[in-house]
């Protein structure tokens, strides 16, 4: 987790909020550093995390997590982390027929209607355990990333349904959190992705949007982060609070500064 980002979001691992949907999106840049931040944040906050990692392997997240101070192998061993490695399981699902329904069943099917097996997996993973000793704080679902599901043949409506079911179970029933990453393609006419992004934006409590600089590549400022706090359940006449910062990613942390205040310029 990045301490500067915690300050901007006004949270610490001890005081993590519950029942929230956080949407991460990136446009013209790579927003995966936000996924690493939230993964290490919730592991340090002693929450039970179900991580649906569709785009990278376990060792990638583990090595970056070690730089940020958490060990995914230890977390997985003691049950704090349930990790669905999409890439490795996809090979198993695709080449060998599975006996029981697999969360990535839709890879084998020509016209998969919904993501129900994936939802069942999440529900099973974040089931409250009646074990007095290992009582985790709250369940958290982390998805990296949802745009891959669109590439694999699922419609935007199916993905929105999946998130809706997960929200009902994780956020409302079990007072947990959901964090999901969606890529924003910008100007290409990708309708499905826009439907997904708009639909999720209206449901989320916090939107973190990482954008590349409009002027192009810069060595000292890697991008701009827009933070938007929302209250989706109560329509308010007040404007939602929003902040914009620019950031530079370093080896083990990310530094944030106000626009135009990069240390390279000052």
């Amino acid at each position: 987790m990045f301490p500067e980002l915690n300050n901007l979001l006004n949270t610490t691992p001890d005081r993590a909020e519950q029942g929230k949907l956080t949407l991460l999106c990136d446009a013209n840049t790579d927003g995966s550093f936000l996924v690493h931040h939230f993964l290490s944040f919730y592991l340090k906050a002693n929450c039970k995390v179900c991580f649906v990692a569709l785009i990278q392997s376990f060792s990638h997240y583990n090595i970056v997590g070690q730089k940020l101070g958490v060990s995914l192998t230890v977390a997985r061993e003691c049950g704090q982390l349930v990790f669905l490695e999409g890439l490795k399981s996809s090979v198993d699902v695709f080449f060998r027929a599975q006996a029981e329904p697999h969360p990535l069943q839709f890879l084998r099917e020509a016209n998969a209607e919904n993501l129900q097996p994936l939802y069942e997996f999440v529900r099973e993973a974040l089931k409250p355990v009646d074990d007095g000793d290992a009582a985790w704080r709250c369940p958290v679902l982390l998805v990296d990333d949802l745009s891959v599901l669109l590439s694999l043949g699922m419609g935007a409506v199916a993905v929105l349904d999946f998130i809706h079911y997960c929200r009902a179970t994780v956020c409302w029933e079990r007072k947990g959190n959901i964090v999901a990453l969606v890529h924003d393609s910008g100007d290409t006419e990708e309708e499905e992705n826009n439907i997904l992004l708009n639909g999720l934006s209206h449901q989320s409590h916090l939107i973190l949007r990482a954008e590349g600089l409009a002027t192009g590549f810069c060595r000292d400022v890697h991008g701009q982060l827009r933070i938007l706090w929302r209250t989706p359940s109560q329509p308010t006449t007040q404007r939602d609070r929003s902040l914009t910062y620019q950031y530079k990613i370093q080896d083990k942390s990310v530094s944030f500064f106000a626009k135009g205040m990069s240390p390279a310029v000052l």
Binding site: H36, H60, F95, A110, V148, H183, E190, D251
Partner: protein, 423 residues
Amino acid sequence: MAAVATCGTGAGSTGSMVAAGSKNNVTSFQRRGPRASGSDSSYSRLVSIAGTRPSVRNGQLLVSTGLPALDQLLGGGLAVGTVLLIEEDKYNIYSSLLFKYFLAEGIINGHTLLVASAKEDPADILQELPAPLLDDNVKKDFDEDACNHKTAESNIKMKIAWRYQLLPKMEAGPVSSSRFGHYYDASKKMPQELIEASKWHGFFFPEKSSSTLNIEPCSLTHGYIKLLQFIQNTIYEEGFDGSNPQKKQKNILRIGIQNLGSPLWGDDICCTENGNSHSLTKFLYVLRGLLRTSLSACMITMPTHLIQNKAIISRVTNLSDTVVGLESFIGSERETNPLYKDYHGLIHIRQIPRLNNLIYDVSDVKDLAFKLKRKLFTIEYITKLTSYGMQGQKYLLSGHLHRKLAINRSHYFKELKILKKIY
């Protein structure tokens, strides 16, 4: 077992990640550095694979793409376990050349090759590979070039644009004995004995299309399913995924797929806008899964300029690790543009992966051009500055050169920096 030992060391260990299971994880995503557990033997075996080297930044195992200049632009080379996507130029001239360099590099290093094509028989492709340049020939060529450019540079004194003198000039890296990247002579063919000594598997789609499928059709086109099965069989039987631990010497599998997405593979995304829009992306996803769990590296050339549905291109880019686009000047208006008269095309590095890391090696310079000069394919970066008198064209430069300089109107600068690296 190594897995148990790693878990015991706790969060402070910087050792490798080993899968918490009985099967030894043979991915290349292992960290360089002192090991806590007893996996030193496997690590030393990984490092000693011919034609690979660990990345300077994160210890990731790299192979050469066949072009040392491209290796440097990609941060040292192509990471094992990843996909390099080449967006073809309009007439598929230079992308097929890069494809051949990739395969030739595999033969020189003794890697196993898997060549898949729907257009040409892989055996014919291998006959057309360029010959490697021996060391003394290479040195002679570079000395010639250095002389030419020295005379040009001495004439141009940078009085006004003095900031350009801060730009890095040609850097001659140390010449190491075990060469990582090699240079190839595009006018000569690879010697027959080298090709015969190499191990390769060919997949020629028209030959394989008639055999039966044992996977039910799942919105992937027939060609892609067969290709995935072929790749998976090769990986499994040759033991690239660590399933055969008795193999004494680990090796890399270089997969080259030509013209993926073209109608010859049975895919219609290049023909219509509403074609089978998920077939190619599903293929890339399963291929990514196969690569991440084996010691292999893949280069795919794809005619993205023909794909009608632009959304597919962005999805394909997100599913690939490294994406390089080639744009040749043949037939375009830039062919007659005097600024580009020495070059054959532009090369765009569209995406570089951040593997095992938050950051990645990216070069500051974004204006890159290539040319096929006599025998060598070189990539250079161009910084051009024209006076305001030249049809009112002003060039904004990237990186720290974000300023337009007012210069003497009677002449314009042309500055070439050469990015050839001799490792």
